[in-house]
Subunit: 214 residues, 2 copies
DNA sequence: TGTACATCAGTGAACGCGCGTTCACTGATGTAC
DNA sequence: TGTACATCAGTGAACGCGCGTTCACTGATGTAC
């Protein structure tokens, strides 16, 4: 970090603005580095190198790599929660294609965040994976509530609705994985989207018959 | 490793038997250590320490930790393939509860192996996660074939059958996760099993209505 | 307004540590005669 | 059968390296008067 006075026409940042910018650089660098490797394999020195500061300056922003990890989880789960809210806010004519569209759009826009969530969901530190699990439970819970509102599903017990919501979330998580890793064996992006839509439709069809074939 | 002549009534092992025993000790130690952390965070020295040999002796068995990792993947995916064969071999009256029972039994018996597969499926090295993905594709493929044999599903395209098989595999993977990590929020083992059965039933119900409500 | 002092993000040298890997070795096991 | 030699799993010292963390520091920014 060069300490220079405002040059040309720029207005100089305040100290706290500079600090915040460095903090964001650390978080962004970490997220980029996570495309290549695990969070737990990432060293403090790699992160600071990539962010353009000296290793010791790291401690001006985070007490440890774990602390940075928790901030990252917070940011990424916020992204996920925003997506959930976005999906709920726009009830389209066809809720299934609407939901999948929102999913695809958000995964495209925040690929690194979703990659982080998916990667660290299991492999990572327990605090990180617990935080991710909690947000996914929130997702399932919201979805359960949405399902409960459907008049056609009034015969469902809460437990059964939750079970179905979990299945939907599992399908969407698989879709996120497929969107993130362009694997020729898993087909093109269009294939992935089409598969996701059919899987959700299949689940909905199953729910229509659930306990109802009197 | 103490080099001692056969003592008491034991018959001394041959050199190759000793070597194989050490190799297995390395693999087993690694699998145990993986309950605590990632494979990529595991050091060669930790593994040899836990197996009771000196670090340099490691190279008598594997060229690198990566090579040991691939052996581990081979062993664990073999376990998974055996489970698949076991499930296919015993077609019970109710295929769903039969499959879930086989799954639960195998996860109980080979918990460390399944934990490894689940943990390294994404977080890990690309060679490891690719090998796991391939075995899971095999699983899906076998299941697709089983579904294709059902007369009731004759109207399904191969693509649709595969889509449904993937959904079933996703549900079973989620079940494996839940069985491995006893999370009070996810309910008791019985709850997990009951949920898995209902999810598979829901999918089957969906398939019954698929394209058929003429 | 200018001056004197406090704050604090970032610096750079230094540290001890566990790591992967090399190397020459040891001594029990295996083999040829 | 016994003897002489080869094999090779495991040893232990040593190496250079990147790591996290400490410390005293610098100098621009912020604040009080």
């Amino acid at each position: 970090m060069v300490h220079e006075r405002s040059h040309s026409s720029e207005v100089s940042e305040s100290r706290s603005e500079r600090k915040e910018r460095t903090r964001q650089a650390l978080l962004n660098s970490t997220l980029e580095l996570l495309a290549e490797k695990n969070f737990s394999n990432l060293s403090l020195r790699e992160v600071t190198r990539s962010a353009g500061i000296v290793p010791t300056a790291f401690y001006r922003h985070f007490g440890s790599m774990d602390e940075l990890g928790m901030s990252l989880v917070e940011d990424c789960t916020r992204t996920l929660r925003q997506m959930i809210r976005e999906a709920r806010r726009n009830p389209s004519a066809d809720p299934i294609t609407g939901t999948v569209d929102t999913l695809v759009k958000n995964v495209r826009e925040h690929a690194a965040s979703f990659r982080f969530l998916v990667r660290e969901r299991y492999g990572g530190a327990s605090s990180v994976s617990r935080a991710i699990a909690t947000t996914l439970e929130l997702f399932t819970h919201e979805l359960t509530i949405d399902l409960a509102r459907q008049p056609a599903l009034s015969s469902f017990s809460t437990d059964d609705l939750e079970m179905a919501a979990e299945l939907m979330v599992a399908a969407m998580l698989q879709t996120i994985q497929d969107l993130l890793k362009p694997d020729p064996r898993r087909g093109s992006e269009d294939d992935v989207i089409y598969r996701a839509v059919r899987q959700l439709r299949l689940i909905v069809l199953g729910m229509m018959s659930w306990k109802s074939p009197s």
